[in-house]
Amino acid sequence: MKKFDKERVLLAVAGPVIALAVAFVLSAIVLVASGKNPVEPFAVMFEQAGFSDIQVLIINQASMYYIAALAVAIGFRMNLFNIGVDGQYQLAAMTAAVVGAHADLPAALQVPLLLLTAVLTGAFWSGIAGVLKVTRGVSEVVATIMLNAIATSVIAYMWLPDVFGVKVGNNNTTGEMHESGWIPGIDLGAAGEIYGLVLLAVLLGIGYWVVLNRTRFGFDLRASGASSTAAAASGVDPGRMVLTAMLLSGGIAGLAGLPILLGDTHTYSLNFPTGIGFLGIGIALLGRNSPVGIAFASLLWAWLDKASPELDFHGYDKEIAVIMQGLIVLSVVVSYEAVREWGLRRQQRRVGAELAAGHVLGAHNNTTKEVAGR
């Protein structure tokens, strides 16, 4: 049993490590091909990771990536591809900002109200795709992509001055939220402030692990993901599982924008970061849908984002980081598949070897031993 675990850890770690190594090497080749020093950019970026203000930026950004990636990962575990995390979190942040600007309760009620608003908005938006899939058989991929576009339009509508919009200069905002809904950060002096909701990201990660690995619902979810027919045969209602998984995924997605909304901007404006939902897909893949893996992956992504701008000041292009992110995603797929097959072959070989050993034994003794050898 012990040995089996080591084997699994080896296989789990080999994929990402190989992918990263390949991505580094390929990026270096790109640099050499464009006549640049292939090592210095990485040195600069590693150096950046040592600065406290950059670390704060990395952690803040990673918290949002992490939540978005968890939302995607829940879908993946169930064999659902929620590509609509992007629309879900933006719409949820929008409604939370609007509620925060108009409701003014004591902080103890205001903050839960805002979190709930975001969760419900996200769940509602992904729920549409879930209902369509369960009742009409519409692919959730198509439905959520469409819903992304609709979310953009809904947000634009809510920005209208006679709806919820407040114009500040040339910017559309939703007005400043009441201070009771602001979540104080961890003040690190000159280095900046870590968003208070980074803690929420950690809690969500723990919750994700507990639900998936220690509850019946989690088991049903993983079972449905592995084989929906087998799960249905053992009494799991596939329709209900799809809907629940979509709602859960959307609900978590709804929280992805809140760290910056409640911790920094306090309004939903044209500057609100977009695209986190799409990045979450790559991060969930790299993290292999595991809460720890996703944590590393989102930190890696955030590091590439936050350390690369410095490259501009050293005569390199910061797009190197984007190239690298792309290469990582590509090599992740290849290396995971390769490692999986390698693991499978290794397993087969070992079983074969044991069988062969069984045969030898069986030749001396009787056939029952050979069966036991399996």
């Binding site: 690369s308 000041f313 992110q325």
Partner: protein
């Protein structure tokens, strides 16, 4: 198992597509390395789109080039990353100020909060922000423009030139900044000839969807308006405007350009006979003037407004067919004088 890996591949394909899309905006920049000594001057930080947008980012770069040549100091221009937050923008400005660049200009209203934060940290550096007037600090110059005034004149030109009595407006992204262009244009048309109908269309709701960077979208929109009998189309759509101009040239109707004098642009040389005029917004001059004021030791501060009076917004006169049309020129001249004297108040939304 197989289904899982198929979904993995689909996910990876999408993710890499998203990355590929987001990588499009960037071009190589050549900022000076931080360890080189010497006199450091103007630095600009671009908004999404960056250098090469044929629009106001490029105009800002032109101002930077001029300052660099004239004052002979080291300059820097830095591009944003996709989906970044205000904190990243502030980090960028702080980093520039820390290296000794002065002034530091954020191009685009998205830099508002970043400029505010950075200006507090570096009180001795002059900061500039283009297209925003909400920052009120001693060391910040708000470089804003009355785009609606030039657009009003474009509306006058359009109404005078239209035979079908239908004109079109194509906006890049549905945001307040572009609403100013539309409002001025529509008012100019109506004041000149109330019978002329204005068709308006915005290409996208958000800049991320490419409203400022998709000539194909601009072309489709313009073709639709031309089909509805529009014979003058005005594009305030950044790079997408090239598509509008292309469509107008193909259908032999007039196009009105924006931001810079598009009649003179090399990329549009093929279509220049269809470009009636351009509603110009001289970001280059505003950027250069701020750099000059810092160089002269009297840095600009507060709201620095470019309008018809200062000449930082204007209508270009490089198409001879437009410049030689006496009646048209007369109408534009009268409108311009009335705007400057305050007789005509141009709406901005």
């Amino acid at each position: 198992m197989r289904r899982i890996s198929r979904i993995t591949v689909a996910g990876a394909a999408t993710a890499s597509l998203a990355l590929a899309l987001s990588a499009c905006g960037g071009t190589s920049t050549s900022a000076g390395s931080s360890d080189s000594k010497g006199d450091k001057g103007l630095a600009i930080a671009y908004d999404v789109g960056g250098k090469g947008d044929q629009s106001f980012n490029d105009a800002a770069y032109a101002g930077l080039e001029q300052a660099k040549k004239e004052f002979g100091y080291q300059t820097a221009d830095v591009e944003p990353t996709e989906g970044e937050t205000g904190a990243d923008k502030e980090q960028r400005l702080v980093s520039l100020a820390k290296q000794g660049y002065n002034p530091v200009i954020g191009v685009g209203y998205a830099y508002a909060s970043a400029v505010k934060g950075a200006a507090e940290k570096f009180p001795d550096t002059t900061f500039g922000i283009v297209d925003d007037e909400t920052i009120n600090a001693k060391n910040v110059a708000d470089l804003v423009f009355n785009e609606e005034q030039a657009s009003y004149l474009a509306g006058v030109a359009a109404a005078k030139s239209s035979k079908s009595k239908v004109v079109g407006f194509v906006g890049g992204v549905d945001i307040p900044l572009i609403h100013k262009f539309q409002a001025g244009f529509a008012q100019g048309v109506k004041d000149t000839d109330p019978k002329v109908k204005v068709l308006s269309q915005y290409l996208t709701q958000t800049a991320e969807e490419g409203g400022f960077a998709s000539p194909d979208k601009g072309k489709t929109a313009a073709e639709g308006q031309i089909e509805k009998k529009a014979d003058v189309v005005y594009a305030a759509a950044g790079l997408s405007g090239q598509g509008v101009i292309e469509a107008a040239a193909a259908k032999k109707v007039w196009a009105i350009g924006v931001d810079s004098d598009q009649y003179e642009q090399e990329a549009l040389a093929k279509y220049k006979d269809s470009i009636l005029t351009s509603a110009m917004k001289d970001v280059a001059k505003a950027v250069y003037s701020l750099a000059k004021s810092v160089e002269d030791g009297k840095p600009e501060t507060g709201i620095v407004r470019g309008d018809l009076k200062t000449g930082e917004v204007s209508l270009s006169n490089s198409n001879p067919k437009f410049a030689d049309d006496a009646e048209l020129q007369e109408a534009i001249k009268t409108a311009k004088e009335k705007i400057i004297s305050g007789e005509i108040k141009v709406k901005s939304s």
